[in-house]
Each structure stands twice: as structure tokens, then as C-alpha cells.
Subunit: 227 residues, 2 copies
């Protein structure tokens, strides 16, 4: 089942492609809906498509060698995934599941792969994305190395606040359960820590967002007492 | 001080460039020697060059948020580094030091960056390299999550053995100290574990290499007793 070329054109990665190329890709693409907590991409198989999220929210998940679940990153509408397998043909290193009802477009790898490397704007976008993944993993590894749970949660919240100064905002904040998976702690520990942070005014809920006093959060993340 | 175009041509990343482009890059490149344990690239500055290792051996190192040193990966002759900053202009996420006397060629980022994205062979090579870094980080994170030191060292040695079946070889094996840094353990623990593995015949030294009984190593890495 093909998708409309205008749907593909909405994705930043593909928008530099000429209309005829987009039309050809759209003719070979397919679209699929996923219920909440459904597996979108299994781990350890090599996906043969570039996957693009139209709406909903996905999360990439891995398991430690002794079996604990670790959340890696979120995928939001407009974003793409399965790019590692597209590049090197190796298996998918992590599981991707839907955190809410989601619609995903699948574009065959054989069609899109040559375009990625021969279109400078796409090559640069892909390299920037991969560089970003490497950088997030570096930070994430540093966070998981922290033994104090309060410090670990604060360092993770700091990672989630992007740009701006002073007061920062985490838009559509992950749930306590989602954060717990991300930082390898229990949901109860995250809830307890959030209560402490909210009582002390370091964290304020604003609808679906969280507003962060970033100076004090940063102090707590580096092991300070933020008093 | 310029370098010879033939020197640049030896690097797999650059070999697809036409002779006149290589000559131009070589005219703007410079070469520098580093003593053992010298800092080649400091952390947290944005390097303005693509760096290529002519000879010697380098190691990328990071520090945990509470100050422990963690070795990330080795850089061998023919290899390049500082590619993250080249792509996104952000600071270098890790320190690069020389593990032995090393010669490094520096090519200005402003010259080489446009070529990376407009030369399909270079774009693909760069994407493959970054994908490989993401995959190694995924595995490395899983290994650091193991609490048993024997298991952690075996999982790391398994990661270092590439290709082949049955008996595998780690060419120019890292020292106990280098492995200790890689897996966040003391040198003493690594030496003690190596003695156990060598006594049991799981690991055999052959000159500079290590020969690994990969079936039993893999069993130990997954928490088995390998008896």
C-alpha cells in the first residue's frame, strides 16, 4: 500500500529530494498503525526499511546482559529510525516499541539508501543524527555510572532540558515509569525523588511539561546539595 | 607545514578523492609527533581539523561524572578521529592520548567537511564509522552494567575478538592496564582474572596476540562456569 508523496515531504530528512524522486519513494512505501506497547521493530533482525514516525510516540529499549530493561531514547513525529541497519546491513541493536498509538511509514532500504549518500543535504543530516546519538550515549553512560539515585535522576533530567538559560522546560515530559527505565531505577524511586524535587522547588509541573530550575538541578546532578 | 599528497592517499577515508583535491588538502594539512601519554586532543574544545593517525597508537578516554577514568576505544594507523566535531561543530566529547610515540596529520575542517558530504564514498564511509561507534557503545554499556568482574572482563575480551570461528585472536592485545581502564576495574583485578583464564586454557598468549577459546569465553561472559 503506497503513501502520498506529500506525507514523505513533511519529513525533514526527505524534504530536499526532488518531486519525482519523492513520488517514486512514496509509491514503494507502506504505512502501518501500532497500538500502545506494541513492538514496532524487533531487536536482532536487520530491518529492510527506513522507518518514519507520522504520529504517536515510540521508545527504543534495550536489555542489560543480565536481563534488566533499559530505555534508550524517544522517537517523536517527523523523526526516522532503523538508520543503523540501513547503513551497515547489521541487525537492529535495540527494540523499538510504541508508547502510544502510532503510525509509521516504511520506505524500502534498497530505494532510499543510495539517495542518502548521493544527496549532500541528506548525508549531512544523517551524519548529524549519528553524531548526536554518539554524544547522547556518551552522556548516558556517564549518568548510568552514578551510584546515587538522586544524582542519577537529576543528571538525566538535565539531559532532557535543551537550550535556554535559568528556567528550562521539558516538553511533554516522560512519565515516572519511562524515566525509571531510562536510568535503570524503580518507578517508586523516581516518584519519591520527584516529590523531593517538587517540594524543594527544583521541579514544577506545568500541564504535560516540567519546568526545571536548571542551576539547582545541575548542582544536584554534580553531587551538590543545592541549598 | 604541508604534507605529501601520497601520505593522505594512504588513508582509506580519503583514497576516493581525485589527485588535485588531495594535493590541495595536503598543501593545507600539517603533521605533528606526540610522545607516549601526551594529549593529542583535549576534551571539551571543538577541534577544527580532521585528524588522521600515520603511525603509533592512540586511545580515547573519558571520565565518569565522579572522576574515574574510562577508556573508550583505540585508534590505529590509517584511522581518523575528531569526526564528531567536524560534523556538528560541538566540543570533543572525549580526550585522545597517545599510547605510544605517534604521528598525526591534521587537515583543516573547513576544507575537508564539504567533501565529506558531497563525495558519496566518503559519506558512506563516515556513516558506517558512526554506526559502528553507536553499536560499540551499545555493547560497551551492556558490559559496564555487569557487576561480576570475571564476567565483565570476558564480555570485553569477546568484544575485542573479531570474525573467525572456534579459536579467535586478539591482535596486538591491549595491556592489563588498558583493559582495566576500558572496563572500569583495577589493573590487579584484570591480572588476577587473566591468570585464572590462562590456567583454565580459555586464554593463551602468543607473542603480542591473545588466542581466545571463544565458545568458553562467551559462556563465561554470559555468566556460565565454562566447565
Amino acid at each position: 500500500m503506497a503513501v502520498h508523496p506529500l506525507l514523505l515531504q513533511q519529513f525533514p530528512l526527505l524534504k530536499s529530494l526532488p518531486a519525482d524522486v519523492l513520488e517514486r519513494l512514496a509509491g514503494q512505501a507502506s504505512s502501518q498503525s501500532f497500538a500502545k506497547r506494541e513492538v514496532v521493530l524487533p531487536k536482532s533482525t536487520a530491518p529492510r526499511h527506513l522507518c518514519l514516525l507520522v504520529n504517536g510516540r515510540l521508545q527504543a529499549i534495550d536489555f542489560t546482559l543480565d536481563g534488566r530493561e533499559v530505555g534508550l531514547y524517544f522517537i517523536d513525529p517527523g523523526d526516522y529510525f532503523a538508520e543503523l541497519a540501513l547503513i551497515d546491513g547489521q541487525p537492529q541493536p535495540e527494540l523499538v516499541i510504541s508508547n502510544s498509538v502510532s503510525q509509521v511509514v516504511f520506505v524500502p532500504a534498497a530505494e532510499v539508501r543510495p539517495l542518502l549518500f548521493s544527496t549532500p543535504a541528506m548525508a549531512e543530516a544523517l551524519c548529524r543524527r549519528l553524531a548526536q546519538r554518539v554524544r547522547v550515549q556518551v552522556t548516558h553512560r556517564q549518568i548510568l555510572g552514578l551510584t546515587n539515585p538522586l544524582q542519577r535522576i537529576c543528571a538525566h533530567l538535565e539531559l532532557l532540558t535543551l537550550g535556554g538559560d535559568g528556567q528550562r522546560r521539558i516538553v511533554k515530559a516522560p512519565t515516572h515509569q519511562e524515566i525509571a527505565i531510562m536510568v535503570s531505577l524503580t518507578r517508586e524511586t523516581v516518584t519519591r525523588t520527584f516529590q523531593v524535587l517538587q517540594t524543594r522547588g527544583v521541579l514544577t509541573r506545568d500541564g504535560e511539561d516540567l519546568v526545571v530550575d536548571s542551576a539547582r538541578m545541575s548542582d544536584l546532578a554534580s553531587g551538590g546539595t543545592s541549598d
